[in-house]
């Protein structure tokens, strides 16, 4: 039986090469992106097709490019991993358009079955990130950038 996963021995030897030459197919780890808004806050829920483990993200709470580091905890580790995928959902009010690109190249994070996401907004946003309650999703709460710009200067009334 041919398996796409590398053998345990080969895995132990640091399989960056294996990942590089592995399939370039599109296996869709990111199942769906669900977005809802309320009172100017948008909740973006990234649904994955397997359990994921949140590890870290950067920057902490503000920026236009968010790097999110996860680990796939699939039940069946033999499922092949895609190298790179993109996902985009229809734009929503108050949240700048964004694209989610993720990579499972082993060089992106030194864990087994890494999942590294780049969430690219067209403008800076403020956000919070946490793991979803179902263990298979990641939640982003996004606020559009609202810092005020300088008020227009006004001349003295002359009185």
């Amino acid at each position: 039986m041919r398996r796409t996963i590398c053998s345990p021995w080969l895995r132990a030897l640091g399989l960056a090469t294996c990942a590089l030459f592995a399939t370039i197919a599109n296996a869709q780890l990111l199942d769906d992106i669900e977005v809802r808004s309320d009172q100017g806050v948008s909740e973006i829920r990234l649904h994955f097709t397997a359990p994921v483990r949140y590890i870290k993200h950067f920057p902490a709470e503000r920026g236009e490019l968010i790097k999110l580091y996860l680990q796939v905890l699939s039940l069946d580790g033999t499922e092949e991993m895609p190298l790179q995928e993109y996902k985009r959902t229809p734009s929503i009010p108050l949240v700048p358009p964004y694209t989610v690109m993720y990579s499972t190249a082993r060089t992106c994070l030194a864990v087994r079955d890494p999942l590294c996401l780049d969430i690219q907004f067209s403008k800076p946003v403020r956000f919070r990130i946490r793991q979803g309650e179902d263990g298979r999703s990641i939640l982003l709460h996004v606020l559009a950038e609202t810092d005020p710009r300088p008020a227009p200067s006004t001349k003295p009334s002359g009185r």
């Binding site: 796409t4 097709t49 483990r53 870290k56 490019l65």
Partner: protein, 800 residues
């Protein structure tokens, strides 16, 4: 019945809608009243500092408020109030250049009530400052008359009690229109102003009391209106004797004022219990000018706390104590709302939502991949000079990958249905290679909220409830009770490297939670067969805990047929303060999970039934499967710290071990020799991430790793940078260096630089090109091998 509804809905969502409809929130007296709108100028995850509040928006009130949104506390600064959404939107349009995130908001009656009588900057959540607010002088005025025309004049001379007061004109802009009014001031307490208002009611029947600012007082002298002759004044008699103004106790009032202010702030931030405590303190003071307000607000606090009986009692007490108070009518309305809301809801006929929304989105992409390899080898014999071996070159990759990701979503009434298709077609240009089509998903999904029903039919992802991966079949769930949901699943696993055996499975699971605000979980049973014999028969459970700073997920999968623990997993994260997070993973598993089909690992013949026909027993196949299934153990701990907004440093330590496997297989199976395990492998990683390192809009990642085990050591360093150039260009640079030495004297190094360029055209189409090289060198005492692989990719992606 639920299954029937599901099938009907799958076939015809609109028909199903007509059968069930949706009950819209019934109108109640509370929400049937006046609506109020505001412009949200600022919103934040953290309290908004004073410095960001506008100081020049005079026409309307600027106030702070906060709300729980998606479980998070969000802080707002709003400008209000407006009678219509159009007016608020118009104001928002005039401010959006200055407040780019401004949006129109319909505020709740509670927010309006709690804010309307409070001066802007006094609405300050207690969490924002530990220092008590500075005492301020407050002024009250009586608005005698208000009009849209400027021709206003006093109706007569003031009574003797008010001779020391002034009448002045005040011009404002409300909802974009000029408003003119005559004001009488100034009073140091609301009680004084209220007494004056009552004195003047006969002449100014619409007179009202409001607060005024120091600025208004200072500027009022410029618009004082001359009084008519005293004889023209009607003989005004107050309905009741005026309050002895001298008896107003300033110290009590001041204390009460502070408590009232704090309680309003507590109400605004949703801390009803704190508000109740503060209001109780206020109500224990001697009667003062804020007693009425406090009596109403404590009822409101109980009401928001869900303590309806207490709220009613406080409202009734308020009406008994202050029947003539100007806010009494409002209190009566609140009380009436509480007593009549359920009846009103029952009387109003359900209203069906008939709005249907259909959307389609996804992406289509085509990428061409090409790679060339070259290997130069030199043999080093024990005796004699080194001998170069023939150079090997090959075109190892030439393929066009076509991807389609299509989602159609149909929302109608209570239904939220989807059709999802994800397909990848690999067109290979290399000789003797086949084209491959992989349908990753093709399913229809129905969700019905009132029935708590959902289902999917078709090719769909698994990885839950014991289903190991993608499968063709059906899955459905039904909420049997609040917080309890039962699911069933049945189908055939999808393997893109198929074996010559047939697998089927069915399973059921139970989801529970959320309990105690933070806990949820599930338990499952699954039965899978292969060519008629048991492949996998497992029970499992997940237990999860989540709160804003911690998460924990545990998973156990146990095969009852084999009597082995397939998976025992525990993972958690802990946020320490605002800058540091810790994470942990403990993962023990059979890899792959135990299945009879594991007997086919390293077999050319991939048919279980064939082996059975050739004389192998089921027990022999199961024993072979057990022998060929290694065990993986991993423990990993990590930490991440944000030094500032631009730098983050993280590190982790992990130990993993993959067991060896014993020799296995006897004819007709293939004999396989014992395979050694990895032993304990330790890996140490340090990763720094920074923004603005090379350019203003870039993010760079630098990683250092060190691996050590009984048989080899390895080190790697990698650098990645993504730079955004204007709005349309992205540049990705990646450089990875890895070296390894093993106990057999083999040294290997690998250097991989990659550059990728992306350009977004018309917002929906992205062109990408990537080029890279991998340069490797492997040396041992017999051979030196230099390998080079050049590769590139180019293509486009259309998001629609």
């Amino acid at each position: 019945m639920p299954l029937l509804v599901f099938l009907c809905a799958l076939l015809s969502p609109s028909t199903a809608l007509a059968q069930t409809g949706n009950v819209a929130p019934a109108a109640t007296p509370a929400n049937a009243g006046a609506r109020h709108f505001a412009v949200t100028l600022l919103s934040s995850f953290e309290p908004i500092p004073d410095a960001l509040l506008p100081t020049d928006l005079k026409t309307h009130r600027v106030y702070r408020t906060q709300a729980e949104v998606f479980g998070k506390t969000i802080y707002f600064v709003r400008l209000g109030f407006f009678a219509t959404a159009a007016e608020a939107t118009a104001m928002r349009d005039t401010l959006v250049a200055r407040y780019p995130g401004a949006f129109m908001t319909e505020v709740t009656a509670e927010e309006f009530g709690a804010t309307a009588s409070v001066q802007t900057r006094s609405v300050k959540p207690a969490t924002q400052s530990s220092t008590p607010p500075a005492p301020r002088t407050r002024f009250y005025v009586v608005t005698l008359v208000e009009s849209g025309t400027a021709a206003l004049a006093p109706a007569g001379a003031l009574p003797a009690e008010l001779k020391d007061k002034r009448i002045y004109r005040r011009d404002t802009v409300q909802n974009g229109a000029a408003r003119y009014s005559l004001q009488l001031g100034f009073f140091t307490s609301a009680a004084e102003a209220e007494t004056a208002r009552k004195l003047l009611l006969a002449v100014y029947p619409l007179a009202g009391v409001r607060q005024a600012s120091q600025q208004e007082r200072d500027e009022s002298g410029r618009t004082v209106v001359a009084m008519p002759a005293e004889k023209a004044a009607p003989a005004l008699k107050p309905a009741k004797p005026a309050l002895p103004l001298a008896s107003v106790r300033g110290d009590v009032d001041s204390q009460a004022s502070n408590l009232l202010e704090q309680s309003r702030a507590a109400l605004t931030r949703g801390d009803n219990n704190a508000a109740i405590q503060l209001l109780n303190q206020l109500l224990q003071l001697p009667p003062n000018q804020h007693s009425q307000d406090a009596q109403e607000l404590i009822g409101l606090a109980h009401e928001r706390n869900g303590e309806v009986a207490k709220a009613k009692r406080e409202y009734k007490l308020c009406l008994e104590l202050y029947p003539d108070w100007s806010g009494a009518e409002r209190v009566r309305q609140r009380l009436a709302d509480l007593e009549t809301a359920p009846k009103a809801q029952a009387l109003i006929a359900p209203k069906k939502k008939e709005v249907s929304v259909s959307t389609a989105y996804g992406s289509l992409s085509q990428y061409y991949y090409r790679g060339n390899s070259r290997v130069d080898s030199t043999e080093t014999p024990i005796v004699g000079p080194s001998q170069p071996l023939p150079t090997l070159t090959s075109l190892d990759q030439s393929a066009l990958i076509n991807n389609l990701d299509l989602t159609g979503r149909f929302r109608s009434g209570d239904y939220d249905n989807r059709i999802v298709i994800r397909d990848s077609y690999e067109l290979n240009f290399l000789p003797d290679t086949e084209n491959k089509n992989r349908m990753y998903a093709a399913y229809a999904e129905v969700r019905n909220k009132p029935y708590e029903l959902s289902g999917r039919l078709g090719r769909q992802p698994g990885n839950s409830a014991g289903v190991l991966g993608r499968f063709d079949g059906i899955s459905a769930g039904y909420g049997i009770l609040p917080k309890w949901r039962i699911n069933v699943v049945a189908g055939e696993p999808v393997d893109f490297n198929p074996i010559n055996s047939d697998k089927q499975f069915w399973g059921t699971s139970l989801d529970a939670g959320t309990f105690a605000e933070h806990w949820n979980g599930s338990a499952y049973y699954i039965n899978q067969t292969i060519d008629g014999i048991i492949d996998r028969q497992a029970v499992g459970a997940e237990l999860r805990y989540f709160d804003p700073s911690r998460s924990l997920l545990s998973l156990v999968d146990y095969d009852v047929s084999y009597g082995v623990l397939n998976i025992a997993l525990l993972q958690g994260t802990y946020q320490v303060g605002s800058k540091t997070s810790l994470n942990l993973l403990i993962d023990h598993r059979l890899a792959p999970v135990m299945q009879t089909s594991n007997a086919l690992i390293n077999e050319i013949n991939t048919s279980i039934s064939s082996f059975l026909q050739q004389g192998m027993t089921e027990e022999q196949l199961r024993a072979q499967a057990e022998a060929r299934t290694p065990t993986s153990d991993l423990i990993m701990i990590g930490a991440t710290h944000n030094f500032n907004a631009t730098w983050q440093l993280g590190g982790d330590i992990k130990r993993y071990n993959i067991s060896g496997t014993p020799a296995s297989g006897a004819p007709p199976a293939t004999p396989i020799a014992a395979q050694p395990g990895t032993g304990d492998v330790y890996a140490y990683t340090l990763q720094g991430i920074a923004t603005g390192l090379l350019t203003k809009r870039d993010v760079s990642v630098l990683s250092l790793s060190y691996l050590t085990s009984d048989t080899y050591n390895g080190e790697s360093i990698s650098f990645n940078n993504r730079t955004l150039i204007q709005d349309k260009w992205t540049v990705d640079l990646s450089l990875v260096y890895y070296q390894q030495q093993d106990n057999l004297g083999t040294d290997s190094t690998r250097l991989t630089p990659i550059v990728r360029l992306g350009y977004r055209w018309r917002d929906r189409i992205t062109f990408e090109i990537e080029a890279g090289m991998e340069k490797g060198e492997t040396t041992n005492r017999d051979l030196t091998e230099d390998s080079t692989r050049n590769f590139y990719m180019l293509g486009y992606r259309w998001d629609f």
